[in-house]
Amino acid sequence: MSKYLEYVKQTKHTVVYPPGWSLVNKTGTWRSLRPVIHQDKCTKCGLCWIYCPDGAVEKKEDRYEINYEYCKGCGICKVECKRGAIELVREEA
């Protein structure tokens, strides 16, 4: 039985999920364009991290990295990056 069906079965009325439920949905599979950060051009300004609507840009100690398990490939980070450090690359089928 799917996890969703399991929840509908368990819950009495409204479907209620535990906190962090969105982590279960790996939305990265929706992506057709993959944003790639060129670290040499990146000034670590953090705009991509701020603007990413899915929180799929992660702040590491010395760099920003994209979490491809959740990135849907919307391209907002590319548009917002003032240094042109993000490139959108077509995903191969």
């Binding site: 929840y7 009325h13 535990p18």
Partner: protein, 393 residues
């Protein structure tokens, strides 16, 4: 005894239900409901939060939030306001929030018309809200309290709207017996929320994505809860009868026993129909009426029970499903289809506040009384008895 308007009766009932949050946006003919609620709160007669919002969409959204905090929540709107709420109606029902709405019925634009018909509530009949229809000021007063009891019932948990026609009921003052507060308190105790209520110690996510793997099952759950509310409303009606000596059932018949023609409908037109039934009965005509108090869910079994022996059901619709029939009619026909039952006919009346007078109902009776299968086959089954259709031909 008091003399109150329908809107006052609704507000006085919500006050007696001790609602905790009121969220609404004014619209004719609903505005005075909220004015009364504001007055009760500012006079200290009611301990509730009044949320002022910028639109009906926000009004119901705020009501959803309030309900999710566990509060007994009340709202009211009409016509265009209900249309603006339409999106949120489905949130409230999908999240199974027992919000109660007072809905003075008004026609929908365009053209602009502020008078009453059932177009507004009937176009949202499938939004997952329970719909009760009152046909007097007393019934409005009684039904708001009943609606809270029904909506909050653990087996149901569905939002409920109490519909009553604008002006004809909302602004007409009638004598009524106000519900005594202590009796209401016994009938409807403080809410013990069994629905989803935010809890800081046990956080959860709500209104999350539900994929096709489970969505139909979720809908089925909603549907069965809806169906259950027919029986629960019967139980509530029985308890109400015991405590307040007025009876309520999902469908109520009047002089149905040996009736050949039954006039079927909802709302204030049924009080006029009762008057006509009494008058025609004195002349020996075999006429009765069926007043649908609960239209969603549709109490089909109960309806069949009452209408079983009639020859013709004349269904009045104070609304129009453009290009098909009135919106009450399909539920009536479905109830009898595949079964050996009465003939059904549909009468579109009272649109945009056109007065449904006894003569209109007598004309309906005459048409229905003469009808048989042959007539229906030849002339169709949908009539506009109070519309000058020749004007536009």
């Amino acid at each position: 005894m008091e003399v109150w308007s329908g809107n006052r009766a609704a507000a006085e009932s919500a006050k007696r239900a001790r609602v905790q949050v009121v969220s609404a946006y004014p619209i004719t003919p609903q505005s005075s409901v909220m004015e009364y609620m504001a007055q009760f709160i500012s006079d200290g007669e009611l301990d509730a939060e009044m949320i002022r919002v910028e639109s009906e969409h926000s009004a119901l959204s705020a009501a959803c939030g309030a309900s999710l905090s566990g509060a007994r929540t009340f709202t009211a709107t009409s016509s265009q306001g209900l249309m603006l709420m339409a999106e949120v109606l489905f949130f409230a029902s999908g999240l199974r929030l027992p919000i109660v709405m007072a809905l003075p019925n008004r026609s929908l634009e365009s053209p602009v018309n502020i008078w009453s018909d059932h177009q507004d509530s009937l176009v949202v009949r499938d939004s997952g809200w329970i719909q009760l229809y009152a046909n007097s000021v007393q019934e409005v007063h009684d039904m708001i309290v009943q609606a809270f009891k029904l909506a909050e019932n653990e087996r149901i948990l569905l939002p409920t709207m109490v519909c009553y026609e604008g002006f004809l009921i909302s602004h007409v003052a009638e004598v009524l017996e106000p519900l005594p507060q202590e009796k209401v308190d016994a009938f409807l105790p403080e809410p013990d929320p069994k629905w989803a209520v935010f809890d800081l110690d046990n956080p959860f996510q709500i209104n999350e994505l539900l994929t096709p793997e489970a969505f139909p099952e979720y809908r089925y759950k909603q549907h069965t809860a809806m169906k259950r509310s027919i029986d629960v409303y019967k139980e509530i009606g029985a308890e109400f009868q015991e405590k307040f000596s007025r009876s309520y059932e999902p469908v109520m018949g009047y002089k149905v026993d040996d009736a050949e023609v039954l006039i079927v409908g909802l709302g204030s037109i049924m009080s006029t129909t009762k008057y006509v039934v009494n008058e025609l009965r004195e002349k020996g005509e075999k006429i009765g009426l069926v007043d649908i108090k609960m239209f969603r869910p549709f109490p089909e079994k109960e309806f069949r029970e009452i209408t079983r022996d009639a020859r013709v059901l004349a269904v009045m619709d104070k609304d129009i499903g453009f290009g098909t029939s009135g919106m009450v009619y399909p539920d009536i026909t479905r109830t009898w289809y595949n079964r050996d039952g009465p003939l059904t006919m549909n009468f579109i009346v009272g649109l945009g506040g056109r007065e449904v007078v006894p003569e209109t109902i007598k004309r309906i009776y005459e048409i229905a009384q003469k009808a048989d299968r042959k007539v229906i086959e030849k002339e169709g089954e949908i009539y506009w008895p109070d519309t000058l259709t020749e004007v536009i031909m």
